[in-house]
């Protein structure tokens, strides 16, 4: 039996009191217990920012790499040992700014990784500059007259890339978020979970109250069909007085790992090489 205690970490938490990340950590642990995920077989790869500190606050394997480079590291790990449960975790700047190109291609690959983006619509760790998801007009030290560009919509892009699982959660809805994370991990393929995360220090606009007043669940008491891409495109464009959360889009398509015969029997890490087997190949040069 995997319990909450199994995920306990002694590393002291460095987030501001009241930060939305605490709730996300709670939801993540809950999801992991719900699916009975052994900590040893879990690895969380993260970037740099406030969100990427999360894996230190759990007992599991952790690779806390570079800002923006979460997904390629996670991809390398998953391909080397696809028996591991691989989560990637980062902020909006990390994933949608610095790591934007990797985001596109991880979705195309449909590698079986669950990607949690703590989207606080601001750069937290570097103390409050505009991020790709900052709303139009959002005032920061780098945008004193308000952000000049419209906010990047990760869900819309993900659906366009045919990302096989596209969801949005909210740090203020822990149970719902835990269920999303659980579904994301259980989904076979690349799962994006964009998580609305209040930053109490640098985002005074998109606060807990602001989000709470607006979010509604598309997967509770509704006829929403997540397999319908057109529908998903429409839903993903809703933002303002009402903000949908839940699974927007979910399809089944072959994962990257499924298409590689080299690991059909066992993961790469379990395969040994005998240099002598290459003598046959040497003959072809004669």
């Amino acid at each position: 039996m995997v319990t909450l205690e199994d995920f306990h970490s002694d590393d002291p938490i460095a987030w501001c009191p009241g930060c939305g990340n605490f709730s996300i950590l709670k939801a993540l642990k809950k999801a992991l217990v719900d699916i009975q995920q052994p900590p040893n077989e879990l690895i969380i790869v993260s970037g740099i920012g406030q969100a990427p500190k999360t894996p230190h606050y759990l007992r599991c394997n952790c690779f806390n790499g570079l800002h923006g480079r979460t997904l390629p590291v996670a991809t390398g790990i998953k391909l080397a040992n696809h028996k591991l449960t691989v989560l990637a975790q980062g902020g909006d700047g990390d994933g949608y700014g610095e790591g934007g190109n990797h985001f596109l291609h991880a979705m195309r690959r449909n590698i079986n990784i669950t990607y949690l983006v703590h989207n606080n619509q601001v750069y937290g760790l570097t103390k409050g500059q505009a991020s790709p998801t900052s709303e139009y007009g959002f005032v920061t030290k780098t945008t004193p007259r308000g952000a000049r560009n419209p906010a990047f919509n990760p869900l819309l892009l993900a659906i366009a890339c045919d990302c096989s699982f596209v969801a949005r959660g909210f740090a203020g809805e822990i149970e719902h978020l835990a269920a999303l994370i659980k579904k994301g991990i259980q989904h076979k393929g690349f799962a994006l979970i964009d998580i609305l995360q209040p930053c109490v220090s640098f985002n005074r606009v998109n606060t807990f109250k602001w989000y709470s007043d607006r979010v509604y669940k598309i997967d509770v008491n509704s006829q929403y069909d997540a397999a319908d891409r057109i529908n998903a495109f429409e839903k993903a464009q809703e933002w303002g007085d009402k903000i949908p959360i839940g699974v927007f889009y979910r399809i089944q398509r072959p994962t990257l790992e499924d298409q590689i015969p080299a690991i059909a029997e066992k993961p790469l890490v379990a395969q040994q090489t005998d240099p002598a087997v290459f003598s046959e190949l040497l003959e072809t040069f004669k």
């Binding site: 790499g65 991809t75 080397a80 291609h105 090489t273 004669k286």
Partner: protein, 572 residues
């Protein structure tokens, strides 16, 4: 015997199909062949050539003068005729390329007409030319026909026949129209099929695969791409995953991920791609993750000369990355060495849990070498300190960055049944958690840098040829091995007592190997394909010896031994 055949023409004319048939024919008959490829960065047109050198002794460099020039276009006659030796012969299709000559050594052959009539297609020009060139060596035609048979077998009997007929017609044409006996005789020989003909890239890839490479990720960039393509062609047979990354940043980060998870992984790129990898290089240093990176150099800065050669990235790879962390740099000079050094690169990376860079360049990577044997027994696999499930009998708190005398901490791989691990790019504690403690910071910097001491001891000696002491030393590294050796032989034959000191294991510099006292008396001339004499500067700094002269070349072309000999004569 030492004959060089140059085939020149536009990209897309099939220069390589001619050079490879000629090369294979002779390698299979126990000759040594070396091909250097000189091509422009374009798919069609431009001036390009392959130069095939055939000898009965090992050859590792291009010759200055060629005996046979096959001109597939007019530009080749204009540019390359001066390279012909005094009695050299030019083969060309006068009508086809619009070139005429009164010179009795310039033999016009209607390549196109023969190809259409005998081979039923103009594509057969290459086989006509191959046959014609072979006729000038007086080598048996039969052997070429056998090679063509093997080459085109898969395309069906008709293709084989058309190629063979075309080659025969080209061969016969030369025999009938050449006034004198073929001037460059290659003695008849038995087919033994023992020697191998392969490129530097293939040797690097073979070395990596035989050393247990399981994962390759890369982004195409000349001259590194052939490594990726060769591994890709073998991936299914040898259970290797090859993932083409979206950019070089992704490539190296994937490689770090795969190595972290426990699979041997590498990437290859050229200088520009390596620029993008640099942040992750220091990530590997900080997280103490093994990584093998091949940097196939080409002339920079920036896009430079994409398809040409230079040794200009030594300073860059030596200093790349922010902060202090250990690394090793190796640079093979010939294929047998590439095989061993790839094995060494993976072993050092695993043992010292840090990045290892292997420097190639366009000349080394694209040239074809003949080797007597690649010995797979030269390859050892040492995965370093990895604790298995049995090594940790009970569930426990494992420390990824535990201190040790060597600076090396035992790894576990994620998925270990008894423990979990934390790795971090931030400064971290022994457990791998983020820290800002000044004390821990000092400990960790020293721990990482301590590994440099062990690494230094692993670095092997330079090759000294011929052995003994000499008054004149030609100092080189990496791909210039063959040409410097040849130059040294020539100098010695000319009564100038000279010696090659060639480095293939460059960094960290191991001064124990070099008899500094002996070298103090010698005149040292550095030979390098770059502007600054990058290795010479590093060598001087590391040994305290001064390098007296530098022979430097940075026009994107490799040295010839003649060039080196002449320049040595100028400066001594």
């Amino acid at each position: 015997m030492d004959i060089s055949i140059r085939i020149g023409g536009e990209a897309g004319q099939g220069i390589q199909s001619i050079s490879s048939i000629i090369a294979r024919t002779f390698v299979r008959h126990d000759f040594y062949v070396f091909i250097n490829q000189d091509f422009a960065s374009r798919i069609r047109g431009g001036h390009n050539f392959d130069q095939v050198r055939i000898s009965n002794a090992p050859v590792h460099a291009a010759a200055d003068k060629i005996q046979i020039l096959v001109a597939l276009d007019k530009e080749t006659t204009r540019r390359d005729i001066d390279c012909l030796a005094d009695n050299g012969i030019l083969l060309f299709d006068g009508d086809g390329i619009g070139f005429t000559s009164e010179n009795p050594n310039h033999l016009s052959i209607p390549f196109a007409q023969i190809a259409s009539e005998v081979g039923k297609s103009k594509i057969m020009i290459n086989s006509v030319a191959t046959g014609a060139a072979i006729a000038l060596t007086d080598f048996e035609l039969r052997q070429v026909l056998d090679c063509l048979q093997e080459q085109f077998q898969q395309k069906g009997p008709e293709t084989v026949e058309n190629n063979q007929k075309s080659a025969t017609a080209g061969y016969d044409f030369v025999r009938q129209n050449l006034k004198e006996k073929p001037p460059f005789r290659v003695p008849p020989a038995k087919s033994v099929r023992q020697k191998m003909l392969l490129t530097g890239s293939q040797a690097i890839a073979l070395g990596a695969m035989a050393s247990g490479l399981k994962f390759y990720s890369g982004y195409p960039m000349s001259p590194a791409t052939p490594i990726m393509e060769f591994i890709s062609s073998q991936a299914a047979t040898y259970n290797i995953i090859l993932e083409q990354a979206e950019d070089e940043i992704a490539a190296i980060n994937m490689v770090i991920g795969a190595n972290f998870a426990g699979a041997r992984a590498m990437t290859a790129t050229s200088g520009g791609g390596f620029c993008l990898m640099v942040e992750a290089l220091s990530l590997a240093g900080m997280t103490e993750t093994p990584a093998v990176i091949v940097v196939a150099q080409r002339p920079g800065p920036s896009t430079g000369l994409p398809t040409r050669t230079e040794q200009g990235d030594l300073n860059f790879v030596m200093h790349a990355g922010h902060g202090d962390f250990p690394r090793a740099i190796l640079a093979p000079g010939y294929p047998e060495q590439a095989l061993c050094l790839m094995s060494k690169a993976f072993n050092l990376a695993d043992k010292y849990q840090t990045p290892v860079i292997v420097l190639g360049d366009q000349h080394f990577n694209d040239a074809y070498f003949t080797v007597d044997e690649l010995n797979l027994r030269d390859i050892t696999i040492d995965r370093g300190h990895i604790l298995t499930d049995q090594d940790l009998p009970t569930p426990q708190a494992y420390e990824r960055y535990a201190p040790s005398e060597s600076g090396i901490s035992s790894r576990i791989l994620p998925g270990h049944t008894k423990a979990v691990l934390y790795a971090d790019s931030d400064e971290h504690t022994q457990e791998g958690h983020i820290t800002e403690s000044a004390t821990v910071r000092n400990q960790m910097v020293r721990k990482r840098m301590q590994k440099l001491k062990g690494l230094r001891r692993e670095i092997g000696p330079p090759e000294i040829y011929p052995s003994g002491e000499a008054e004149l030393v030609l100092l080189g590294w990496g791909s210039t091995h063959g040409v410097i050796k040849e130059a040294v032989n020539k100098l010695n034959q000319n009564g100038i007592v000279a010696q090659m000191v060639h480095y293939s294991e460059l960094f960290p510099f191991n001064p124990d190997h070099i008899a500094i006292a002996a070298l103090t008396k010698a005149k040292i001339i550095a030979v390098e394909n770059n502007y600054l004499g990058q290795f010479a500067e590093f060598f001087s700094k590391s040994t305290g010896l001064s390098v007296d002269q530098k022979i430097l070349k940075y026009d994107g072309r490799p040295f010839t031994s003649h060039e080196i000999v002449e320049q040595v004569k100028d400066v001594i």
